[in-house]
Assembly symmetry: C2
Homo-oligomer: 128 residues x 2
Amino acid sequence: MTITEVSEKFDLTQDTLRYYERIGLIPHVNRNKSGIRDYTEEDCKWVEFIKCMRNAGLPIEALIEYVALFQQGDETIGSRKELLTEQRKQLIRRMEDMQKTLERLNYKIESYEQSVVKKEKELKRAED
Amino acid sequence: MTITEVSEKFDLTQDTLRYYERIGLIPHVNRNKSGIRDYTEEDCKWVEFIKCMRNAGLPIEALIEYVALFQQGDETIGSRKELLTEQRKQLIRRMEDMQKTLERLNYKIESYEQSVVKKEKELKRAED
DNA sequence: GCTTGACCTGGTGTTAACTCCAGATGATAG
DNA sequence: CTATCATCTGGAGTTAACACCAGGTCAAGC
């Protein structure tokens, strides 16, 4: 796949794709004989995986380390599992925070609901 | 309350508190006769509210608008409710994304679990 | 009355995560 | 053969969200 195709497929700019590769957020993509990137199926999976993880707020740092570990082979399976477990922990924490915020928003919106109703009633009375 | 106390209470730097006030992320805080900020109970509630919302990833822009609407009085109750409802929608969307990512992490970690076990077995065989 | 320390304002500095650009190159269409 | 076009690389520019700083004020302790 060309970079244009990957860019469209995952809705990331070409610059972002090149940037991700440069900083090691995805493994190095092979080039064809004239130096142009040719994304394999696996490259695409990496892109998609990274996009998903970034979307959920996992820190770039941790993901770079994960990719680096991956490239060092099977010796690092333990470390990778640890890394992901730690990130999962933090993800859960963030989700809990968001859950609390959500409940708070729900409450606030409900209060506004009642204010609006009250306001409408006042207006109605004013009409009488 | 002094800015130092508020800063410590909510774990935000004084610079951040002043910054938030400057850009309208919290309403203007009154100063005493010598120009020093004196946070009321309500000011504190705003700080805490904003911190909570920012923590959950609500965009600063939206919060600034919310504060501005609030300061315009009861006329804006409807708009405020709409604004919060929209932000809630987006918050829910983010949480759903994160939920998917979480499940993916769970799956990946589980796979690693098995890899580790397999690896240990190989080592054991090698010992024999 | 002088020093100290918390606080002020306005403005500059920093960092992360892209984003844009210039100049070069190789393939392709006419 | 030439012009166009997608792509390349290395490096500079941008934006958000603070963080830091200089120079000044004011109240309090000694």
